[in-house]
């Protein structure tokens, strides 16, 4: 087994995501133009969209890892699913919070049942339930199996929820959401793309650290078991 602390790729990933995050932060404040109608508040958009992207992508990874676990039955797939859910939850929570912060000055309220905000809240609840499910099951193999099944079924309902919420809100038009449109300039697109890259890198480095942590926990449990038996 390798010693901890030799994870060159992990360190490189973390460093790279830190650099790109600072670039994205600088671009959001200095490079991107001030939005005409919303003003500086609009700048939260770059991080809001990026965290939403990472959240949904993380749950997609959990879905794939669930399929992998059911097909192969190897612990590494379960570690991947679990790690990705935890990171996804963090980012979806950030999406909901940044969305609310933005909605207050622009729509005049912290919370509105706007489709994208609603689907993020539904996602948050689904994967909180995923975490509670894991916590309530004894036995690592059964835990992994049930979590994989729930991760698969949950992800399959996401597009259906999205259509349902969207139709629901467009059939009953909401005055509050009417004024949400904004003119996108190419500088805004550049900033958004860099933010997306920064958050994706951050996701990759967090995922790598979380997977390593879980492997270390497993290794510790094995060592403890060996000491107790001798």
């Amino acid at each position: 087994m390798r010693e901890p602390g030799q994870d060159r790729l992990g360190i490189a990933l973390t460093g790279l995501s830190a650099v790109v995050l600072f670039v994205a932060l600088g671009m959001a404040f200095l490079y991107a133009p001030r939005e005409a109608t919303m003003g500086d508040v609009q700048r939260i958009f770059y991080f809001h969209v990026a965290s939403a992207w990472v959240g949904f992508f993380a749950f997609f990874v959990t879905f794939l890892a669930g399929v992998g676990y059911l097909a192969r039955g190897e612990r590494q797939w379960d570690i991947l699913a679990l790690s990705s859910v935890e990171i996804g939850l963090t980012f979806i929570a950030m999406t909901v919070v940044t969305g609310s912060l933005w909605a207050r000055p622009v729509w005049g309220t912290y919370w509105t049942w706007e489709p994208r905000l609603t689907i993020s809240a539904v996602q948050l609840l689904i994967y909180i339930a995923y975490g509670m499910l894991r916590a309530a099951i004894d036995g690592p193999r059964r835990k992994a199996r049930f979590a994989a099944v729930y991760g698969i079924v949950a992800f399959v309902t996401v597009p259906l929820s999205w259509f349902a919420i969207r139709w629901w809100r467009t059939i009953h038009p909401d005055i509050l959401t009417g004024g949400g449109g904004m003119a996108i300039t190419s500088r805004m697109v550049h900033t958004l793309l860099v933010s997306l890259a920064a958050f994706t890198l951050l996701y990759a480095s967090l995922l790598r650290q979380r997977v390593r942590l879980e492997r270390a926990t497993d290794a510790l449990a094995r060592l403890r078991a060996r000491i107790e038996t001798t």
Binding site: A129, M132, D138, Y150, V153, V156, S161, F163, W167
Partner: protein
Amino acid sequence: MGFLRKVWAIVAKDVAAELHTREMVSAMLVFSVLSLLVFSFALDLRGAMARAVAPGVLWATVAFAGTLGLSRSFAREQQTGCIDGLLLAPVDRSVIFFGKSLGNLLFMAVVDVVLLPLFSAIFDVPLLRPGVLVVTALGTVGYAAVGTLLAAIAVNTRAREVMLPILLLPLAVPALIAAVQATGYLVEGGTLAEVGGWVRLLVAYDLIIVAVSMLTFGYVVEE
């Protein structure tokens, strides 16, 4: 034995057990009536108000009564050791899934059949329309299918009955939204063709959920 006959054998077993004990359907029925009572106190369900919130009240009641029955469905199997017998039987896991789902669907349908006329009579809302029946049937099918899969998971957790609604309700969001919206339009005099989008969404939900649940159910019950 053919696939359908095997499925039917499991359904018949559940129906026979239910006829003996009457614990699931009677609990769901009493709960539904209590739920209507609570909603009528909470929302003052009269006249235009009743008509406006009827679809929501109806589906909230169906959903909560459903979780009540679904959580019993596997708890009973486990208490009696019947689940081991089912797993030992020389049938495919999907047979067990369809058998249990159909049984649960049947019990939920009994609740629907009692609830709709009762609701119409008490709150004077025209729910006994062919369109509403179609939407109710479609909504109940998907709910019973995903509920059966998740009940099989929840029964093996430490929290058991507490776990099922937490797992089930967020996954039922698309079905609940579609069913409430479609029922709302139909109560206001709309036709089934006018709510075609919602009906198609319900059908898609049912098909996808049944397929995914059938494929994954085997992993839930395997030991």
